[in-house]
Amino acid sequence: MTGAQTSLALSVFLACAVEAVEAFTIVLAVGTTRHWPAALAGTGVAGLVLAVVVAALGPALTVLPLGVLRVVVGGLLLTFGLQWLRKAILRAAGAKDKHDEEAIFATERAEAAAVPVPTGFDGYAFAISFKAVLLEGLEVAFIVLTFGANQHDVGLAAAAAAAAVLAVLGAGLALRAPLARVPENGMKFAVGVLLTSFGIFWGAEGAGAHWPGGEASLGPLVAVILLAALAMVAEVRGRAVPTAAVPG
């Protein structure tokens, strides 16, 4: 596996694992509170829809000329990556609430318990699970398609995504609890750095820039983005308003 393929697989795996943890929490809350078969049916149908989206759009994207593809994909990834990174910096600096799977699980369970359970098929459990998996999965499908099409390796990107889902499912089924110990906020930070770096690299290359050293400059670029993001975390943290000392 080349360095570019490793970066592709790692980026997709991390992004997919984060989204899978979030979807798993909601499906688990609905399944344990209401009706497992309906919750699993919603999950399965959403998974099928996502697979169809990737299978239909993947080959279509790889037909585009490489320069056009890199500008479009680079621009989209950069837009997406900057948004992820901004939120991750705010969370790391304490300026935005962190993602707490146990709190989300409790809220989802309370909401699910408030709706009466029908005697037949539980449409509520199906709809909530379907929506959660589809919405979280669309972000993953976007990343699989953009990374995969750009590297002409949608298969590897899809395999990395599937591996992440299986890893999360395996851990979740073993614990039968929300995966609160997964370092989700740190993973989101890493994904933000990777998406931003790849977006810059491919976008600039598609626009006609030549990177010194070609693909070898991707590693230093990731390091620069990471260090700059950490510096921004420190800068935002440094703006904390000092609390007044209480006289003893």
Partner: protein
């Protein structure tokens, strides 16, 4: 779901909560293309614009008292 809601969902999905960052991504790649068209080296431009816009979007942000409750993605 009508067309307006679909467009809103796509906008929210791609652009997110700070449209200025999406604009910055366009500017970063567009400026790179313009500078390259003049035959100049421009590999440094996109990272510089992206990082400057990210830092600019964080101006005024400061740590809050609470930081461990439910949030959206």
């Amino acid at each position: 779901m009508n067309a307006r809601r679909i467009l809103d969902a796509i906008w929210d999905f791609v652009v997110g909560d700070d449209p200025r960052l999406a604009l910055a991504a366009l500017v970063a790649i567009g400026l790179t293309a313009v500078v390259c068209a003049f035959g100049l080296s421009a590999w440094w431009l996109a990272p510089a614009v992206a990082l400057a816009s990210l830092r600019w979007s964080l101006r005024g942000a400061r740590p809050s008292a609470t930081s461990a409750s439910k949030t959206s993605s």
